[in-house]
């Protein structure tokens, strides 16, 4: 039988795919949680108190969160290697 089991990061540390990363300005964040709802990769964690946190191990840098944030609290910053 050919089976595999559940695993976070099944394609590896997809954070290494990024060319630019989203950075949250927590002073502007209104805790609306739209970024959590819309992040295509499910890589923004919803925290107690409804704060949010990006999981940079897996964030692919697509830019959706930055685009939809109503408070413009997320900026895309180029990855410097």
């Amino acid at each position: 039988m050919i089976i595999s089991r559940p695993k976070i990061g099944s394609a590896g540390l997809t954070g290494t795919w990024r060319v630019e990363r989203p950075v949250i300005d927590y002073s502007k964040c209104t805790k609306c949680r739209l970024c959590v709802i819309y992040c295509p990769e499910n890589t923004i964690d919803l925290l107690e108190g409804f704060d949010v946190r990006i999981d940079y191990d897996y964030c692919k840098g697509c830019g959706v969160c930055s685009q939809i944030c109503p408070a413009k609290a997320i900026t895309m910053v180029p990855e410097v290697k």
């Binding site: 039988m1 089976i3 595999s4």
Partner: protein
């Protein structure tokens, strides 16, 4: 009983949970009998009236991975249509039983019997057995469930039986009683869907590992040879009927030349052997009951002192040779035994004991050939 009903009766006794069958000549009366059994309550199973053969195998695959004992039946065009799913089930090594009422493949269009459809699946990692008569078809069906679910094997099994010649012909049949079958076929223990241990069934496998899975399948296929013989012996005890797992050697012990064939016409070959023997000829017959795994070792052993084998093929590998003939030649490589290939019965062309007799008589007179077609 007619062959189709005998197989349906065996399936009923095996108590599968899910069936999915799409009608095709000459299997239809088996499907109808199964529907009758279910509607009358004799068989407590679900019959999915699928819209195509591809969906038939797909449905029972889905049910099988969740633990069901399953069954389907088809022929010719239908078997070709479900080819993709045949490989899917074989590769994943899911215990499934399928009955193939053999029938020639279009083009040319034909509803009559040959083995071309059956053999087309010989690389799909399925165990393949062929019946000689209605009794054989019944016995093989019961044993098929046991063989496929054996933990040492875990491979799907197909039973081939000749279209019209066996499916629609009434022959004497001895059946086991239900309690005996219940004891012979323990509750199925194969399930991949466990909500407490969720798995991904059949993901992509990278080049590094794919070959390892195939190797495991090959080993299972090799182990099946022993398991088939073991189960045949057990079945012999409970049925009181002699069972041959892989091959049967009829009058081979002192034979100079033997016929080798599989399917219903083995009965005609048997008759030919009797007639030839009565005239003093030292001839015999090898019946191939299990086509995959091909019983190489047994053949080499049983045919050690034989001078020549006349292989009768009802299927042909165009550009190469008779399907059985190729397997036999490969098994008897370096043995010095003459392998002669006869292609006959294609598209349902009638073959009688006298055809077998004539070919053998010519060989006994000294005629040799690599391949001949009985097309007149």
């Amino acid at each position: 009983m007619v062959g189709n009903h005998a197989v349906a009766y065996a399936v009923k006794q095996a108590k599968p949970q899910i069936l999915a069958v799409f009608p095709i000549t000459p299997q239809t009366t088996m499907l109808e009998k199964l529907a009758e059994y279910i509607d009358s309550g004799q068989l407590k199973a679900e019959l999915i009236k699928v819209e195509s053969e591809h969906s038939a195998m797909a449905s029972i695959y889905g049910a099988a991975v969740a633990g069901a004992r399953v069954f389907t039946a088809t022929s010719s065009q239908g078997l070709l249509y479900m080819t993709e799913m045949f490989y899917w089930a074989g590769g994943q090594r899911v215990p499934i039983v399928a009955a193939i009422a053999t029938r020639a493949i279009a083009e040319p269009w034909s509803i009559w019997d040959d083995h071309q459809d059956f053999v087309s699946k010989r690389d799909a990692i399925w165990i393949m057995t062929m019946a000689e008569n209605v009794q054989d078809a019944y016995d093989l069906t019961i044993q098929a469930f046991r063989i496929s679910e054996d933990k040492r094997v875990l491979l799907p099994v197909m039973i081939g039986f000749d279209g019209f010649i066996l499916t629609h012909t009434m022959e004497r049949l001895e059946v086991l009683d239900d309690e005996t079958v219940d004891m012979f076929l323990p509750k199925r223990d194969y399930n991949l869907i466990d909500f407490n241990d969720p798995v991904n069934v059949g993901p992509i496998v990278t080049p590094d590992n794919y070959i390892k899975y195939r190797y495991e399948a090959k080993k299972a296929m090799d182990r099946a040879k022993e398991v088939i013989e073991e189960i045949a012996k057990e079945y012999e005890k409970i049925s009181g009927r002699k069972q041959y797992g892989l091959i049967e050697c009829y009058m081979c012990e002192d034979a100079e030349y033997v016929f080798l064939a599989m399917g219903a016409w083995v009965g005609d070959a048997r008759e030919a052997v009797k007639r030839l023997r009565s005239k003093g000829n030292k001839v015999g017959l090898v019946k191939i009951r299990t086509f995959r795994p091909f019983p190489k070792e047994r053949l080499v052993k049983e045919l050690r002192s034989v001078r020549g084998v006349i292989v009768f093929d009802r299927a042909y590998s165009f550009g190469s040779g008779g399907v059985l003939a190729n397997d036999v030649k490969s098994a008897l490589y370096n043995s010095g035994i003459d392998v002669m290939s006869v292609i006959a019965g294609i598209g349902g062309k009638t073959v009688r004991p006298l055809h077998f007799e004539k070919v053998m008589e010519e060989v006994l007179e000294g005629k040799r050939f690599e391949e001949r077609w009985l097309y007149e």
